[in-house]
């Protein structure tokens, strides 16, 4: 629909459709059986250093024309009041960028059958559970973008995941919970073959839960800990990544005063990958072009412990005089592009996990996290829902839920070992005014962190 429209100067025009499916069984009851489709068109116009944006769910030629006009009017509204007289952004060379994916989504019935099979397996094999829920969900974003400087991009990005939540009774009359997520980018058919393929993983989850039910609370305080790769990705994203988003830098994040300075052990190199990993394989959630029409490139945030760069929009790249990274993305058609991470990771080291644990006299091995938050100060907080104590270099009792925290650029200086393996996680959404699918990854990390306890 938008191809026929002339794009005015300093303007982007985007047509987008987001779809999602969710099937959930809670204790055997089907509580969600939902499909959502939401789409429309939006335009953004820059005038005098301020943006006007408009969107409409309708995509008729008349609606597109109205959206273009409203965006220009909105920019005019602010420009008239502010009169900043800021020059237009430097012109970019237009490009045609396209990332296709399988558009053939499975039928809702297949999602239902898949989720039901997982639920029935759990119900039959583990009747002693206090609670269980299974969710199979999928989402996709399909975007077509055109800019005034001639870039045309198309992308389709599907993801599909199965979430399994288990609850067990404890001897003291309480309950403990544990969950895991299985899946990756792609459609249901691409990601999962048979439900039975997940049964061994569910068995492993149950075993972890059983140990957690007999678990202990950690000692509150600062400890030497080994973070499983599942947490390292969260560390990369929350603790460092957000502070290196250039809009946060402009607002005074701790990264503002540390560019070119040592912020981590020399073992640490951290990259926000755009679309391709060093071995040539695709990143978990590849981005070829951002929603400003900028070709996406990797942003090296930390190199050998030195803070080397930020993630940028066109505007912040001009402000700092840095190269473009193509990091401005919007979640829905009605959202404006914001600086967002793509696939943020700590690169692996050379150590073996067992050696990392063996060197800890008294500490903890944290294996699963259920959320994470970051602060302008660089202080981070992760909810930890699975872990083990380490006593004299060996894993001991399992842990109940706890929280770990630290100040990123202090904590990263304490890293003395990184494992040679690596895990990507891509099921989550990052929250920053809008939600956004992101990938995060890393190796196991040994460091000093604050641990909550009783």
């Amino acid at each position: 629909m938008t191809r026929a429209m002339q794009i005015p100067p300093n303007t982007e025009l985007r047509e987008q459709v987001n779809t999602s499916r969710k099937v959930s069984f809670l204790g055997g009851n089907l509580i969600n059986n939902i499909r959502i489709r939401s789409g429309g068109v939006s335009a953004r116009t820059l005038r005098g250093g301020v943006y006007g944006f408009a969107s409409d769910a309708e995509t008729s030629p008349e609606a597109v024309a109205a959206v273009l006009k409203a965006a220009a009017d909105n920019a005019g509204f602010l420009d008239t009041r502010l009169r900043r007289k800021v020059e237009a952004l430097p012109a970019l060379k237009g490009a045609v960028l396209r990332r296709d994916a399988d558009k053939t989504d499975a039928q809702q019935l297949e999602y239902l059958d898949f989720a039901r099979a997982l639920d029935e397996y759990i119900a039959a094999k583990y009747p002693d559970l206090a609670g269980r829920s299974v969710t199979v969900s999928a989402d996709s974003m399909e975007k077509t973008l055109r800019t005034d400087f001639g870039t045309e991009s198309y992308s389709l990005s599907p993801r599909c995941y199965a979430y399994v939540f288990l609850t067990a009774n404890t001897a003291d009359g309480s309950t403990v919970d544990l969950y895991n997520v299985y899946g990756s980018g792609g459609t249901l058919h691409e990601v999962f073959a048979l439900p039975a393929d997940l049964f061994p993983k569910i068995d492993e989850l149950y075993e972890q839960l059983r140990r957690k039910a007999e678990g202990i609370y950690p000692d509150a305080g600062t400890h030497t800990c080994v973070l499983h790769p599942n947490l390292a990705g969260m560390l990369a994203h929350e603790a460092v990544g957000h502070t290196c988003e250039a809009d946060f830098v402009l607002s005074g994040s701790v990264a503002a005063d540390n560019l070119g300075k040592r912020v981590a052990s020399e073992l640490i190199t951290m990259v926000d990958f755009a679309h391709t990993l060093p071995d040539g394989s695709p990143a978990p959630l590849p981005i070829l072009c951002d929603d400003e029409g900028v070709p996406a490139r990797d942003a090296v945030l930390i190199k050998d412990g030195i803070l080397t760069g930020y993630m940028h929009s066109r505007e912040t790249a001009r402000h700092f005089g840095h190269e473009l990274t193509g990091s401005a993305r919007a979640y829905a058609y009605s959202d404006e592009p914001l600086i967002r991470m793509r696939n943020t990771a700590i690169l692996p080291g050379k150590d073996k996990l067992e050696n990392m644990i063996a060197g800890v006299e008294h500490g903890y091995y944290f294996t699963e996290t259920n959320n994470g938050q970051a602060d302008t100060t660089g202080e981070f907080t992760f909810g930890v829902c699975m872990g083990y104590e380490i006593v004299n270099g060996k894993l001991g009792r399992a842990l109940r839920d706890t929280t770990i925290s630290g100040v990123a650029f202090d904590m990263l200086k304490t890293v003395d070992m990184l494992s040679d393996d690596f895990v990507w996680v891509s099921s989550g959404y990052c929250g920053k005014k809008q939600i956004m699918p992101v990938g995060m990854g890393g190796p196991a990390v040994r460091c000093r962190v604050n641990v909550g306890g009783r």
């Binding site: 809670l26 204790g27 009851n29 089907l30 509580i31 059986n33 939902i34 499909r35 959502i36 489709r37 939401s38 429309g40 301020v50 943006y51 006007g52 944006f53 408009a54 969107s55 409409d56 769910a57 309708e58 409203a70 909105n74 509204f77 502010l82 809702q108 019935l109 239902l112 059958d113 039901r116 206090a130 609670g131 829920s133 609850t167 309950t175 403990v176 919970d177 509150a220 809009d247 607002s251 005074g252 009605s334 996290t369 959320n371 602060d375 302008t376 100060t377 202080e379 907080t381 992760f382 909810g383 839920d401 706890t402 929280t403 925290s405 100040v407 005014k433 604050n450 909550g452 306890g453």
Partner: protein
Amino acid sequence: MQDLQQIAQYALDALRRAGADTAEISVARAEKDELTADAGRFTLLRTTRSGGVSMKALLGGRKGVSALGSLDKDALDECARECVESARGAQPDDAEQIAPLTENGEFVSGVLQADRAALYDRAAEFLTDVECEFPTVCPEQVTADYSRGKSIYLNTNGVRFAEEDGEYGFGAMFSAKEGEETSSFNYFGVTLDNLGTRFIDLGNHRLLLGQSASSVRTVPFGEKMVGSIVLTPECFGELLSEALGTFCGNSAILEGTSPWKDKLGTAVAAPLLTVSAKPFDKRIVCGERVCEGERSADADILRGGILQSFLLSRYAANKTGHRRFVNGGGHVVVEGGGQPLAHMISGVERGLLVGRFSGGQPGSNGDFSGVAKNSFLIEGGQITKAVSETMISGNLQELLRNLQALSAETLQDGNVVLPYALCDGVTVS
């Protein structure tokens, strides 16, 4: 088709044509103007127009749900077919029902005409006020918006509700910076039906901005203790919401994992605590008027510490035999207590004023642990210094049982009414 009533009727008929035994739909149109300022400077004016429908179809107790972000006739037909097709694959469940016909209604609330220029002026005034009064504070992101929407609910039992509302919203995320030192970020948000008051004078805005300015330099809490903390209304609301979700929500009651599952009519919290959900309260702006096809109503969740009701949907209520809750459970109102905040704090020899909780999702048993953000040391009955890297942990059930006092002062931000809360038995480390 432009008329919302026509579209709603068409969508309901489409579900019938597709084979639904019974069905319900909600059709809505919305418009929003939003001003954004980043790092203290205006950057964006955004206008969005949206329309959409959500559909629920039942076939012999089998449920399908679809939602569509369009009011296009062909798209509605396809959405209805998919919804019914989804239902065909589901398992039958007699607990799946739609609202019975008890009454129909139309509601209009809030402000239905935006004053965009006045909204801009208020937002600009706020940025100037912050710069003048709190020069070390950086408003990282400020948004000021006006939203207006119309919606119609119909179902095959003959229920019809129409709602129209409009409201202003204002929110800010901010931190303070001196040299290379930065405070933790904090934020606030309000919902308004007029622009008569400077934004800095609303809610606890000036107080929170001042706290941010005085939090650039922090001290560690010191020796671990189990003792008293004072939760700000914002933080109390956050933990209360977690507790209600964990102990009273659909999932917890359906699964039977809630420790309160057998506690209706019994004491689960300190006698001083009454928690209500009041969408019709005069201090709430544009509270929900319709919930699951029935007129909403104000209701208590806890009264004098006694559990009055779970927060159950129609499905969860039918499934468990408990009463359905009569609103969506938002718009929490906890009336203030008898003593001023200063008096409450004066009784704390060593403790913590907790402004924000940043931590893991509490487990089904209510255990929580996390970092106390935007928090201050209480020493000798006085608020003294800002703290950093301070963990708090405990259990939400115990927290509510160990409530010692609620302040006379309350936060009223158009969405909730909440006091400060003095709690005992929390581990601070």
